[in-house]
């Protein structure tokens, strides 16, 4: 039954056409450039995370151990700040399947079985993306403050999935979200 699942799933959620909502897919793009263990699957869930993927996982008995979700999160911080939370802290209605079917909150159904961590970045702007006609290859149109948070998010994910690339930030040592700008400190 492991066709589609992996032990560790890293899922980027959001719509790149809504400026900073492209944060999740943007971090996933960067993660895909790295060599990761075979037990880790990195997914750009785009607009259908809750609908197609989370409901699929919630009903499955596949041995998924950990899921790291990358998304924007309005926790009242500075744009680009990152917060690491678990589903217990989510207000009701987050990640609701848009079809509003019986499994309304798939993350809540999964959280006792799967270790779920959400790495959320405070957005600056979620309007329709301003896409220049000349930017042919770009697939990310986040604001500068969120763009600066991408490397840090990559490092936080690597820590979550236990991969040490030498630059992995351990959240035990640092204070995720405490960094005002979300920039990666050069000393680290």
């Amino acid at each position: 039954m492991l066709d589609w699942y992996a032990e560790t799933m890293v899922v980027g959620c959001g719509n790149p056409l809504q400026t900073d909502d492209g944060f999740g897919p943007a971090v996933v793009n960067e993660l895909k450039k790295l060599q990761l263990p075979e037990t880790v699957k990195v997914l750009d869930a785009g607009l259908a995370g809750p609908h197609y993927l989370f409901t699929l996982m919630a009903q499955s008995d596949a041995p998924i151990k950990k899921m790291v979700i990358l998304d924007i999160l309005d926790f009242g911080g500075e744009p680009g700040q990152i917060s690491r939370i678990t589903p217990d802290l989510l207000p009701p209605g987050s990640y609701t399947d848009p079809h509003s079917w019986g499994l309304k909150e798939p993350l809540q159904a999964m959280k006792d079985r799967i270790n779920i961590v959400i790495i959320g970045c405070q957005p600056e702007n979620t309007d329709i993306s301003r896409i220049e006609n000349s930017s042919d290859d770009d697939e990310v149109w986040v604001t500068e403050s969120v763009r600066m948070a991408i490397p840090r998010a990559v490092q936080l994910v690597l820590d979550e999935i236990g991969v040490d690339y030498g630059t992995t930030i351990s959240h035990q040592e640092s204070n995720p979200g405490g960094d005002k700008t979300g920039k990666t400190s050069p000393q680290r």
């Binding site: 066709d3 589609w4 869930a45 995370g49």
Partner: protein, 455 residues
Amino acid sequence: MSKVVEVSPTTRHEGHTKLVLRVNDEGIIERGDWLSLTPVRGIEKLAIGKSMHQAPKIASRVCGICPIAHTLAGTEAMESSIGCEIPDDAYLLRLILQAANRVQSHALHNILSLPDMYLPGTEMKINPFSPEEPVRSVALRIQRMREIGQTVGEIVGGEPIHPSNPRIGGMYKNISPRAKAKIYDLAKEGVKLANDQMEFMISVFKNYENRDFTEIGGTEVPITELFGSHDQGYMAVDPRYASTSRDDIPMWHPERWTEVRPWDWYMDEQEITMDDPSYPGGGTTPAGNTAWPQMEACTAVPLYDGVPIEVGPRARMSVFRNYDHKGAMGLQIARQMEFPDCMYTIIEACDALNTSAKVVADEIPQGDGSLGWCANEAPRGTDVHLTKVKDGRVQWYSLLVPTTWNFPTCSRALEGAPWQLAEVIVRAYDPCVSCATHMMVVDENKKVVAQKLIQ
């Protein structure tokens, strides 16, 4: 004396819609307006000036429910405009992708439909999450079919939701022989599941259709003979895949398509004069409020030969297989009949696929601005993308998505049914509202300030 009742929001489907229903003394709908409240996303304007390679990727992000259909329709519309012929094996990969998406989508829709239905031979409504048999094994079967659709789609498409492998001129890469063997095995497993699931679901829908009553919010509601019927006709371009303007015999005709503003189509301002607090989901809108369908509707009304038509599984079955089963359950049954088809499509395409063959066209013209379109048979119906590409740039782009076609048709199908069953009819269309993208002018408070479509 007719009364007006409003169900808002409707549930167990994607997007935000509501029902404004004018009913007679018996509670039978005389006129029903089903309208989209989902804000527009502006994709068509966003795409102008972008390269033809980028526009389908933008279109894919219009919605996460049928991203594969949007990617394929967008890509093939561009290819039609520039006059690019793709290799056969690229077509086969796209066909596999299409079928995989349809399996996942239809299987999910089963879960949304089942709670309205009864277990045949009992007075028990079906809870798809029940641990009791026989429902549990049905849920597991649905789950397995979704896994198969998701796995196959991801192998061929390169991404789980928004496929990255399709490109202008074909596909970025072919699949490996091992991946082909894997897909083949999955589809073979799926054939049995698909047939079993089809038979179970058809028995459930026929059972519902033959019932005299159903229970909604504690009251018995008669299932009328006209339940969900309409005489609007059907539109479909292919039983499985698509038709484009570069086909020898194009199956869709842009000159037969016209559009009407919602202002000219839907009801004017109505006072709500009837309510039912016991209706599921917290009751209907309290009496005394007003509804203004022509102002609130967010989608233009597309017409084919001057009338609204139905698109989707029943339309495909009717046009290509002389299927004729009216009513909401007729549509549901047609959808189930597509399950085995999808699996056989994957198997046949795998049989024909040469994994060593090239999948990108030798020549990719840059376009001279001529009109190209692709009508893709998405799970919910015909998804038409029209475009003009010149020197590799998109000059004009328009999307006519399945549920936009179905809105006015389904509104007609509501007539003659008890108002409590309106949502059951709506759900039979498997509506997906997000991608209905025509624009309107809204101010900061999201109030409509101008009713014209922006040109």
